[in-house]
Symmetry: C2
Amino acid sequence: MARWEPDSRGRLARAAFALYSERGFENTTVAEIANRAGVTERTFFRHFADKREVLFGGAEQMQDALVRAVAGAPASAPPLEAVAAGLDAAGSLLPDSSVARQRQSVIAANPELRERELIKLASLSNALAGALRRRGLDEPTASLTAEVGMAVFKVAYERWIDERNARDFSALVRESLGELQSVTAVSSGLPQRAPEDSNL
Amino acid sequence: MARWEPDSRGRLARAAFALYSERGFENTTVAEIANRAGVTERTFFRHFADKREVLFGGAEQMQDALVRAVAGAPASAPPLEAVAAGLDAAGSLLPDSSVARQRQSVIAANPELRERELIKLASLSNALAGALRRRGLDEPTASLTAEVGMAVFKVAYERWIDERNARDFSALVRESLGELQSVTAVSSGLPQRAPEDSNL
């Protein structure tokens, strides 16, 4: 198998995800991943620092895209609109939803990977708060808005990888933002919902 | 020094926090903590499983208090009101803000502790989502509301430990909820509410 095969990164990622799903992240070796992808271990290490990076390698680009889109939103856009633009940009870098689903089940099965995922999300939230401050938003509003944006991101992402939905990530972001607005409006002292909505 | 001294837990915690601040978490031993508190190592281990638990020992009680308060909120209370009641109950278990401030700077200085803190917050968020589902809230609204509640908690907490504020945690929760409502209302395209409507 040619080592200069142009899509070796993609094939390595697919091989890794399949192996992590079949036998667990901790029981998979780099040699096995390279072997299944039909490349050498050296080729693996040209693309990824270690087997964990196959799962988290895109985090930095996603953060950059998020920050750039927030910065690039019209100056007149309210903060949550700028956040939505950032989430859309980050979402455009997501892999196919079936790949994302596989990735998520690998992460869910391993405490160390779950921690790494939490750190990634906290880092995205900090970057988002920074981007909002550079738009002129004061603290603590910037951090609050960033955390709320990440809440929307997480919920939209979970719906997006749910195979019962076959929905566009961007549409799910908008839908979750709409729900956020209903939830916050309801508790603001606006008219209560009918009792049948609030049965325990 | 009497080993059955009733406040040995409190003295051990204060000694640990002081030592972690002075020389760093990783450079402090249990023997040193026990020594400064004037008790034996055995007494330390009667109160804490290890030196990390001094920092995270109250997490379970806080989660229980949060869940109980959400469950106990009136059936008619909108979700975010139930969340506010939960955050108040969790907040009532917080230590003195100067102790919390010391704890926070110890955690901020150590990557392993920062991870542990993220895991604690994620666990609180899951517990909160579960409590909201038991109130009849559907998914994904329950998870979204829980994540938003945790965003409010984090922001209120950071303001509370800021020594320039000398504010009640509960008041900061209400203030952050009000800001959340302004942020979400602004981007909804709805007419802005008057400021006096945005307090819960």
